[in-house]
Symmetry: C2
Subunit: 188 residues, 2 copies
């Protein structure tokens, strides 16, 4: 009887199988992810995440869309209906680091008992307000993780932290430039 | 009796006042935003966004934290408890563009009737899976907006779209490199 290896909630057999499948057919590694938004009022927008392309086909992997509200706090003219856009970027880095850490730890046989992140970013609003000055986005992002494992050494966990930084999609998106094409359709 | 100018749900008097306040005291433009995450199992993490620093002080602007679930779809070894990290980055760009467009449109006197965005990004999973190859993050992001205004011309809306790109915090974070410092604490 075949047994499935699950560690830290990760199906390690599926992980190894995915790596093998990508080695056999590079197209399996190709994804196009998507998000939509519809403006409601002021700084408030309703976001929706559902479909993505995988290996050239649209997935039916999700029965329903995830809905997210975006808004600004009152000091930024919003009504606090949701986090703002730059906060979501920080949240994305925390999630990406955690997934990378846990998936790779699972492949290495490390049992993770606890993993938390706090991420912060410094932003100067001058440019957004049309006043010139420094760059519009974060001048610096700082991430801090706390990890507890029952069977990995501190050195192994520190090595893994570095490996995760080197292979993290969101860290790469932040630390290296991504070409962004923007088009607008004016409706009658 | 003073009247408050509200256009597209934006308090334009407050917006103009904020610009004036920043011109009088540059510290008012300084923010540090934050996000936290706690790993649950597999690719699933619970995120939390609440506090931020403004002009050197922690805000009490939000009575409660926003909670977000992050997860992967089954094809990426998750259980679809939430969107994944790179999808959140795309959502952040959509929200940022919308806020920038509506705030600036309001200052210019444009009435916005509809504003939607769709954002997509191409990602190759080789590097995340430890197989080398192209960069870990998006190779390209494409954003498309649809806008309807009752009183702005197509040319005015297209100019505004360019201005928003030039001043968007999230676009800047994506299109230009941000230094990311990452530290790990190994708990006993």
């Amino acid at each position: 009887m075949a047994t499935i290896t699950v560690r830290n909630g990760v199906n390690v057999d599926q992980l190894v199988g995915t790596i093998g499948a990508v080695q056999g057919n590079a197209d399996i590694a190709e994804f196009t992810f998507r998000a939509k938004s519809a403006w409601e009022t002021g700084g408030r927008n309703r976001g929706e995440i559902k479909e993505f392309e995988h290996a050239g086909a649209t997935t039916a992997d999700r029965p329903a869309a995830f809905e997210l509200m975006g808004d600004e706090p009152p000091v930024l003219l919003g009504t606090n209906a949701g986090p703002n856009a730059v906060e979501l970027v920080l949240q994305a880095l925390a999630f990406c680091y955690a997934v990378g850490f846990v998936y790779n730890a699972s492949a290495k046989g490390y049992d993770i008992e606890e993993l938390r992140y706090e991420v912060e970013g410094d932003l100067d609003l001058h440019r957004f307000l049309g006043l010139g000055g420094p760059r519009a986005g974060f001048s610096q992002i700082r991430a801090k993780g706390w990890v507890r494992s029952s069977n990995a050494t501190a050195a192994e966990l520190e090595d893994l932290c570095q490996y995760v930084q080197d292979t993290s999609p969101v860290r790469d998106i932040l630390a290296a430039p991504v070409p962004v094409q923007t088009d607008l359709v004016v409706l009658d």
